[in-house]
Subunit: 270 residues, 2 copies
């Protein structure tokens, strides 16, 4: 099972909503992307034998929540990025008003899809994930042009990037009523490692490879782990974190396989 552009499009089109809002939502949802979060969530679901229809809804929901955060993050008042995944950002195409509302819409639809599954533990975990994500965004604003401690940077990464992966990794055990802690930890470590490698890429890559403006952190004088401890030590730390991830998911064959694929993919880019 996979979350394709067709799947994402259908989930939006079937709704009775304003058509421009739907177009704006579909635009960012279907930009070329790796669909990491839904893929990892579906792998976790498979390892724990979760009902496929429920898993698909949650996988679409997590991609929607991710897309919503990207749309708001790119806005002129926040990160002011005119490009995303090699294409003009949502607000460049649909205007700031529809970008703000399309982000709101995707947040709401994500939570609604998750609520439709009818598992109160899952619903609560998802709304708490959204709160962490937004807290991460707010903390990110303060990393601009400010000298901050490494701990504060890592806390922001944990929230802004780690929370969604923690939800994806723990989806299978949570839906099966199993203990989720180990999988949540793995997801947070994975998110941290992923964000650090993204910072490395920001510094070393080109627009063509990244699909968004490179060297942006540097231009905005943003504090990143790389700016604090250097490229080599950052890469080493990302490797250590990756080890912590593998240690926790070694008994989950599907999740393990997908995590290894992501690692190979990222290494090819750096």
């Amino acid at each position: 099972m996979k979350v394709t552009n067709e799947t994402l499009r259908e989930f939006v089109l079937s709704m009775d909503m304003n058509s421009t809002l739907k177009k704006a939502a579909i635009y960012t949802l279907t930009l070329p992307g790796k669909r990491l979060r839904p893929t990892l969530l579906l792998a976790s679901a498979k390892d724990f034998g979760v009902d496929e229809r429920d898993a698909l809804k949650a996988a679409v929901a997590i991609e929607m929540m991710h897309a919503a955060s990207l749309i708001h993050d790119d806005l002129p008042a926040i990160d002011n990025d005119g490009y995303r995944r090699g294409k003009p950002s949502n607000h460049v195409v649909f205007g700031e008003n529809f970008a703000i509302l399309a982000g709101d819409f995707l947040f709401a639809k994500a939570l609604d899809l998750c609520n439709e599954i009818g598992n109160t533990h899952l619903s609560e975990a998802f709304s708490k994930t959204l709160l962490e994500l937004i807290d991460g965004e707010a903390r990110d604003v303060f990393l601009e042009k400010k000298s901050v401690e490494v701990d504060e940077i890592l806390k922001m990464y944990r929230k802004k990037t780690g929370a969604l992966f923690a939800f994806a990794f723990s989806f299978g055990p949570r839906m099966s009523g199993k203990v989720v802690k180990k999988y949540e930890e793995a997801g947070y470590f994975f998110g941290l490692s992923f964000q650090i490698l993204d910072d490395v890429l920001d510094l070393t890559s080109t627009f063509e490879k990244m699909g968004k403006t490179p060297h942006k952190d540097d231009k905005q004088q943003k504090s990143t782990l790389v700016s604090k401890i250097g490229l080599e030590d950052s890469k080493k730390y990302a490797d250590t974190l990756y080890g912590e991830v593998i240690e926790r998911i070694k008994d989950s064959p599907n999740l393990l396989e997908e995590v290894k694929k992501v690692k190979t993919l990222l290494e090819g880019k750096i």
Copy 2:
């Protein structure tokens, strides 16, 4: 039981979130306001004997969702209003970046509070309410500088204003597993009536009475019911709708009492 500024403040302050984000959220939440939605929700809860802690959480949640929609609505890219309830709008005080994120935060916290109650029907009704609200906002954008039909205006009012009242009115029966339809209808009619009177006020009132920029609809050449059928017929229609509300809630003494109070309050202003 009442939702006071102190209650609203405590629900935000107890969270482990970025402090500026919390300040921005509390700012709009505690602006002088009538707290209509939580008051009506609590009355509905009382009529159906809902647990008081659950009712309080839902009452705070509905006020948070309302505040979130006001913050995003006032943004320069959407309604561009520098005042709300007699004070500078959220983005004027905290900047557009924090206003966008504070809106996101309040949406998320509202859904999370509702999810904590642990009733899947309630959670789903609440996320569907948020979707309607956002659809209403999007439809509102198209009412600017466009000649639209009365039906389209009423559909927008139903979503943008009616949905939250429908959720408030039906809270009691929903939590008690009773049939919610009659109460939802009453809430939608109430919202419509309320929005029409708000349009009337926009045309006839002053800044001091409204706490926000008056004659705005007119300046923006926005289509409203008043601009379509005139002041007197609009007031008559609002009265008819009010009758439909009373008819449906006549067996719910607390809700009936609160609705009558709102009616008296609005009549005093017009």
